[in-house]
């Protein structure tokens, strides 16, 4: 360990050195080894920097609704977006067609595409509020929770070799349930941050088992819930100011009393649903692993306040309370920015988890107003905020750019063309091919029990992630092996699937069925004409299988327009 050098570095460089050596939560195993380290540095006097005046509670400067009113909130969004576009003299693109909207809203909210019947019914529906109805329907769909669990499991459960003994499925199922029940965001995050008990009793403890060191916990909490990249190493290269070392360890102190079981031990003949997390009574041992110069740093929130905590009191509830308070300068902004980026591909602040005061939002007033509203009147209601955004004209714009707005990437003049995540791609393909999902009841994913074969979905996702932590939704990142698989494997070459889709229908109808099933739209007149002549030339089932193959391999299928 390089304690001595730590004092010389700013907070984050020191961290990079630390991580490899592990500021582990299962302190018992480590104590003897670590005691060999020299600790002859005199502790410095702890001096916190002056609080940054730009870090303050969000204020609603725009006329936000006085009650939870999604339609009114959508109008507020549209007005704010329109104003910025007018200032920049950039025209907005037109409203999305029903076809664009249908596939987009399905994939964004449920992670999959509609069946041909659903698609047809929506497209033929003449009621003026059919889009609003569909938004409500999809937010209530169980697949909504699955989609959110896919996203959040990836963040809370890093793909790290140390996590091969930790069960992923309990956390995944728990998240799915929380999102489907629409547990408010403050309650959900509090459950995670303060979790104690065993995996079996309280799957939220998995967060601690999968991030088994004080620094990892501090980093992921800051990054995912507060929208702050504390871990950013090599400050000297960071373009903006950064947090100071004492501020970091002041936050880390809240996790100083956590005692997490070692999953590896449970794996050896034990039961890894029976491992878990406790809040210790003292902070002494955990403190052994803080850099020498930070040992005297008292627990302190990033906003600068210092909580009054007795040494015997648990610390994490105080952290959760501070985070989820309406006046917290980070928490609600981070939520709004994330949910916005979930739908638009980009946030008001990008990267979405780097919301430094210096990283100016594209729409500061709108971000703050939404943040204030969701933290107060909005009661951290995730489905409510998603609904309001989805109802807005801004969300319902086409992704076709005009010559005047094609270069705009920050003002939301047109929708971003997003890339399906591996999970979405698998689910969409499965929807088309009608194959029974092989991952067990309720479409579970996660690590299969030791020795068992991972589910088809997990395998597919791993193959497409190809070792990355998460897939980008704004860059197409699949490589040659993935393209080969989509072209040449049975997924897109199954004659039974073609037969099931087209049945005994006429060529025109068969083509329409393929399009409705895979692309959730009818073919255009031009497509119909070209494909009819293709069917005539090549003939029947062969032609249909060719068309389905081409559609499934098309960028339209693999993108959300």
């Amino acid at each position: 360990m390089r304690w001595r050098s730590l004092a010389l570095f700013t907070l984050t460089t020191g961290l990079a050195l630390l991580v490899g050596d592990g500021v582990l939560l299962d302190v018992h195993a480590q104590v003897n080894k670590k005691n060999k380290n020299k600790r002859d540095d005199p502790p410095e006097n702890v001096k916190f920097p002056e609080p940054n005046p730009a870090v303050k509670a969000p204020v609603a400067s725009l006329p936000v609704p006085k009650t939870k009113d999604a339609a009114a909130l959508a109008q507020l969004i549209d007005a704010a977006i329109a104003q910025k576009l007018a200032e920049a003299k950039i025209p907005a693109s037109a409203r999305a067609s029903d076809e664009e909207f249908l596939r987009r809203i399905y994939l964004d909210l449920t992670g999959t595409i509609p069946t041909a019947e659903k698609a047809k019914a929506f497209l033929d529906d003449r009621s003026p509020d059919k889009r609003a109805q569909l938004i409500d329907e999809l937010l209530a769909d169980p697949n909504f929770g699955r989609r959110m669990a896919d996203i959040w499991t990836a963040k809370l459960f890093p793909r790290d070799s140390a996590n091969r003994f930790v069960l992923k499925e309990p956390l995944y199922d728990w998240l799915q349930e929380q999102f489907n029940n629409n547990t408010s965001w403050d309650k959900l995050v509090t459950s995670l941050v303060t979790a104690t008990g065993t995996v079996a009793d309280n799957p939220a403890v998995t967060y601690f088992l999968a991030n088994r060191s004080v620094d990892k916990l501090t980093d992921t909490t800051a990054q995912h819930f507060l929208g702050i990249q504390l871990q950013c190493a090599q400050c000297h290269n960071h373009p903006f100011t950064s947090w100071k070392q004492v501020e970091y360890w002041g936050m880390a102190g809240f996790y100083a009393k956590v005692q997490a079981d070692n999953p590896k031990n449970a794996n050896k003949g034990g039961d890894n649903t029976q491992i878990g997390v406790r809040e210790g009574f003292t902070r002494s041992r955990q403190k052994d692993f803080f850099p020498e110069s930070t040992k005297n740093v008292p627990v302190r929130f990033l906003s600068g306040e210092q909580p009054k905590l007795e040494a015997t009191q648990p610390y994490r509830p105080a952290l959760a309370q501070w985070m989820t308070a309406p006046e917290n300068p980070f928490f609600s902004r981070a939520l709004v920015n994330r949910l916005w980026a979930h739908l638009f591909g980009y946030g008001f602040v990008n990267p979405i988890d780097d919301m430094l005061p210096e990283n100016t939002p594209s729409h500061p007033q709108l971000l703050d107003s939404l943040a204030h509203h969701i933290a107060t009147t909005g009661q951290y209601d995730v489905k409510y905020l998603l609904k309001a955004i989805c109802l807005s004209e801004t969300y319902q714009r086409t992704s076709k750019s005009t010559p005047d707005n094609k270069d705009d990437k920050t003002l939301f003049s047109h929708m971003t063309v997003k890339v399906l995540t591996p999970e979405q791609l698998f689910d969409a393909l499965t929807q088309v091919t009608g194959a029974q999902r092989t991952m067990g009841k309720g479409g579970r994913v996660g690590v299969a029990p030791k020795g068992a074969r991972a589910g088809a979905r997990e395998q597919f996702v791993n193959f497409f992630l190809a070792g990355a932590e998460e897939a980008s939704v704004v860059d197409y990142e699949a490589g040659i092996p993935q393209a080969l698989r989509l072209m040449n494997s049975p997924i897109t070459n199954n004659p039974a699937v073609v037969r099931a889709i087209v049945g005994n229908s006429s060529p025109a109808e068969a083509i329409e069925r393929i399009y409705l099933t895979a692309l959730s739209r009818r073919p255009t007149a031009e497509e119909r004409k070209n494909l009819m002549s293709y069917v005539e030339r090549v003939g029947g089932m062969t032609a249909y299988s060719d068309i389905l193959w081409a559609v499934l391999n098309s960028s339209e299928f693999t993108l959300v327009r």
């Binding site: 984050t12 990079a16 991580v19 490899g20 890093p158 790290d160 070799s161 140390a162 990892k216 980093d219 990054q223 990249q229 871990q231 950013c232 190493a233 090599q234 290269n237 960071h238 373009p239 990267p351 992704s399 076709k400 750019s401 094609k406 063309v417 190809a466 070792g467 990355a468 932590e469 980008s472 860059d475 197409y476 990142e477 699949a478 490589g479 040659i480 092996p481 993935q482 393209a483 080969l484 698989r485 072209m487 040449n488 494997s489 049975p490 070459n493 497509e527 293709y534 062969t542 060719d546 068309i547 193959w549 081409a550 559609v551 391999n553 098309s554 960028s555 339209e556 693999t558 993108l559």
Partner: protein, 422 residues
């Protein structure tokens, strides 16, 4: 921040240009630009690297650094090699004859002693989890820096083992995995006739044109480029390198997946693939060390020596770097695990070997009489990886940026030893 965008812009421009010729053989327009881009990376004489990955951590005292007079000497005898004064294990007799085209690094010393973390470390030069980043493996770095984006062939191929991937460099530098060398590339062959496949690609092209006309997004171009390369790989003559069934040398490399994988690696070097990794598992010899290391050494001996000789015959040895290594060494003493004892993990002092690339029989570093401590020229993973970079004409101090704009040096704090070995 700005430099990311700039870099991104250049990448996008290249992709855009490449997409202009989707599914068409006409590449003349953008080839010069790509050639330029590639030239910024590797200018080295060495064009390809084969990493023979010895999974499990081979015992240095029973392969490259024998200590016949030590307490834990073990059963093997040292033999002379083609380099005067340099001895290696008696179970590497053919390799001993080509030692003058190689280097033994006997002073490896590293901090990771658990398999997954050590494998990660030796592939990336960084500790797993450090700074919250997933680091690229050396194969992906080579793919990024000297790979040929215009080629239908992949720039990084990984045979009969799992590997460490591209990390923040992105999936484009992910290895193409070959599970079984006798089966070649998965999904490479179409299930249908060539003419039907052409029909399908024609349909797809039609759809892509219409969609791109309407939406014009970069991601559509990127999708086209990837498909274009995949189709070209399916149809390319170079892809025959993946078919070892008719190679006259089959058998000379020995038998089994490793031997077949090394043969495939030679074929891939012949068509210019810049990085190939071939795995041989079984080196985690906590028990029955000597019988197992003997068998494994025999496999290595046949495959490695044939590889070097055949590359030499083809005039490719000087432009190919071959690395033999695992994640760490094994304890200098022999453990007490039952009737057939073995050696346990030992990262503190261990050996690796390299061949080709103009090497001339050097030995770098030295351990004490037990093989327990490095007493001369301790070599870190970073020193080694930087040497690999230098040999391949890659600037190892170059910084690549993560998705969030953090600049990460290819190899940090390295003291390469290139000039001592060529």
């Amino acid at each position: 921040m700005f430099s990311v965008k700039l870099q991104e812009k250049t990448r996008r421009d290249i992709l855009k240009l490449s997409a202009a010729g989707v599914f068409a053989p006409s590449l003349s327009g953008w080839l010069p630009l790509l050639a330029q881009a590639a030239a910024q990376g590797g200018q080295g004489r060495v064009k390809s690297c084969i990493l023979l990955w010895m999974d499990g951590g081979p015992s240095h005292k029973d392969t490259w650094d024998l200590k016949p007079d030590s307490q834990g000497a073990g059963e093997f005898k040292p033999i002379k090699t083609s380099v005067p004064g340099v001895q290696i294990s008696e179970h590497l007799p053919e390799v001993a004859k080509i030692m003058h085209w190689g280097t033994i690094v006997r002073g490896m010393t590293t901090p990771e002693g658990a398999h997954p973390r050590a494998k990660y470390y030796m592939h990336t030069g960084y500790r797993e989890g450090q700074g919250g980043i997933i680091y690229p493996s050396i194969g992906s770095i080579v793919s990024q820096e000297v790979g040929r984006p215009e080629s239908p062939m992949p720039n990084y191929v990984c045979i009969s083992g799992r590997s460490f991937g591209a990390g923040f460099l992105g999936p484009k530098h992910q290895p193409l995995l070959i599970t079984d060398p006798n089966r070649g590339v998965e999904d490479l062959k179409s299930a249908i006739s060539a003419s039907q496949f052409d029909n399908r690609v024609g349909l797809l092209e039609q759809m892509e044109k219409a969609f791109h006309r309407e939406y014009g997004a970069d991601v559509i171009n990127d999708h086209k480029t990837t498909y274009q390369r995949a189709v070209r790989l399916m149809q390319s003559a170079e892809a025959r390198a993946f078919d070892i069934s008719t190679d006259k040398s089959k058998g000379k490399y020995g038998t089994g997946r490793f031997a077949d994988g090394v043969l495939m690696a030679r074929r891939l070097v012949e068509v210019g693939v810049p990085f190939i990794e071939v795995s041989l598992g079984g080196w985690d010899t906590h028990q029955n060390n000597f019988a197992r290391v003997k068998t494994l050494s025999q496999q290595v001996d046949a495959a490695l020596s044939t590889l070097v000789v055949e590359l030499k015959e083809r005039g490719l040895l000087d432009s190919t770097l071959i690395i033999w290594m695992g994640e760490f060494g094994r304890t200098p003493h022999i453990n007490n695990r039952g009737a057939q004892p073995g050696r346990d993990h030992y990262p503190r002092a261990w050996s690796l070997a390299m061949f080709g690339a103009g090497q001339k029989g050097a030995v770098i570093g030295k351990t004490d009489k037990e093989g327990a401590t490095v007493i001369e020229r301790p070599t870190t993973a970073q020193d080694f990886l930087a040497t690999v970079c230098e040999l391949m004409g890659i600037d190892h101090t170059k910084k690549n940026e993560t998705a969030t704009g953090r600049p990460i040096q290819i190899v940090e704090k390295a003291k390469p030893f290139t000039k001592d070995i060529i």
